[in-house]
């Protein structure tokens, strides 16, 4: 009987978002696996749609609001809605903010989705859950493979929010704490909260490439063996736009948790554009 079986199982609603459903499947699968080991069941909300991403709020605030709201309306009452992508989290929370403070917004929600909005729906990023559940009590010491890796924690813009959405849970330091407990060492470095450039990667790669190279060079110069990302979009930008000769590998946060819990799969790491497998085998951590 593992510790996860002994602890009360938790069931939460889950919003993966487009990146995790497609380009970053390894992020999604490793998150689901890690949670399963902790006795947390992520139940995908049925028929969820794109949160609107950067593009909707960039050019049409009403479409951005409606897209986020359909997801809120699909979430069953009585359990939190857990998100994995910092950008989706902000979009959903922003829509909730409007619903709380604007009767017109509530009216539109009810007309479009045929139900009153649920003021008690708790939208929360996976990081918040990880901090709150005391995960150490849910997995036995024998079930953790210590990870002998030095990493640069990369939050991107995840910790930034507009004033109206503050104060809310600040996830600063979550990666350092959780991965630190799993045997990893974090470096202090300057680019931890530097924006990756997000969608400019498509239309203005000339802006994004130097940014990404500076971030990855800075991580390596700080003594990190790898970068750990909180966001699938950051992960993609760092990998796709990097033109350094020998960049250090970049992991999704969830991949390393799964690796430490002994449930990582080889085909996650083979999907990376910057191959992390040589580093993992050097450290005796091959999945």
């Amino acid at each position: 009987m593992t510790a996860a079986d002994r602890a009360a199982p938790i069931e939460v609603s889950y919003f993966p978002g487009c990146s995790l459903a497609t380009t970053a499947k390894e992020n999604n699968q490793s998150l689901i696996e890690s949670c399963a080991r902790l006795g947390i069941r992520l139940v995908e909300i049925p028929d969820w749609n794109c949160c609107g991403s950067s593009s909707a709020h960039s050019i049409d605030h009403r479409i951005a609001f409606d897209l986020a709201c359909r997801n809120l309306a699909l979430a069953p009452a009585g359990r939190p809605l857990v998100t994995a992508c910092p950008s989706c989290t902000l979009r959903l929370k922003h829509a909730q903010h409007l619903l709380r403070h604007d009767a017109g917004a509530r009216g539109r929600y009810e007309t479009l989705w045929g139900r009153p909005y649920d003021p008690d729906l708790h939208v929360r990023h996976f990081f918040g859950l990880m901090v709150e559940i005391d995960w150490r009590s849910r997995i036995g010491n024998g079930d953790v493979v210590p990870l002998d890796l030095t990493f640069a924690p990369y939050y991107g813009c995840m910790l930034n929010r507009p004033a109206a959405l503050r104060p809310s849970t600040d996830h600063h330091g979550v990666m350092e704490r959780v991965l630190g407990d799993l045997g990893m060492r974090s470096v202090l470095w300057a680019s931890s909260t530097q924006c990756c450039g997000t969608f400019l990667t498509v239309a203005r790669p000339d802006i994004v490439t130097p940014k990404v190279n500076a971030i990855l060079q800075n991580a390596a110069d700080s003594g990190a063996e790898c970068v750990v990302t909180a966001c699938a979009m950051c992960h993609m930008n760092l990998e796709v736009r990097c033109t350094l000769k020998a960049p250090i590998p970049i992991f999704h946060f969830s991949e390393l948790i799964a690796l430490a819990f002994g449930s990582a799969r080889r085909d996650w790491f083979s999907r990376h554009l910057i191959d992390p497998r040589p580093l993992l085998s050097r450290k005796g951590l091959a999945a």
Partner: protein
Amino acid sequence: MERSEAAMTPPKGPPIRLSALDPQFSREIKRLAGTDFHACLQCRSCSGGCPFSDHMDYMPNGVMRLVQLGLKQEALSCNTIWICVGCHTCSIQCPMAIDIPGVMDALRERALAEHVAVIEPDILAFHREVLNSIARYGRTHKLEIMLRYKLKRRDLFSDLDVGLRMLAKRKLDLTPSRIAKTEELQKVFRP
């Protein structure tokens, strides 16, 4: 220490014409953005922190000044509103708690509504393809977004190497991930 002549000379730009100030525009942007940019005291924390300010014609604090004054044409036609990605590095540093990306959102929307010439058409083309994809499938289909965007620009070859690497690593799905009830989105995308 004496300050040099250059340090005391304000940068040269077009003069501000008082007849061009449009207080109605200022009020409209404030309503759309839901934030009070009149609180801006020009401390420039936003511009100091902005990771993309090197590529902007007006610094973020400059845009706050434009909307305070109601300099509509300048505010709607600058490239700053398109380069801003909404990373909120500025709002977290703003001592007056102004939602600066919220102002950029409002300006972009006004610029499109008023058919102002868009100085960064590629960025707009990308946003439009993302929304088209969501309207079709309920989710974003990255491969199709990229192909349509490249076709629109008649440039299929830049980034071809990136696309092929992503395909080889199974990062780009050939078929879209889609929702079952796409008809529900008609309510969202109906003009």
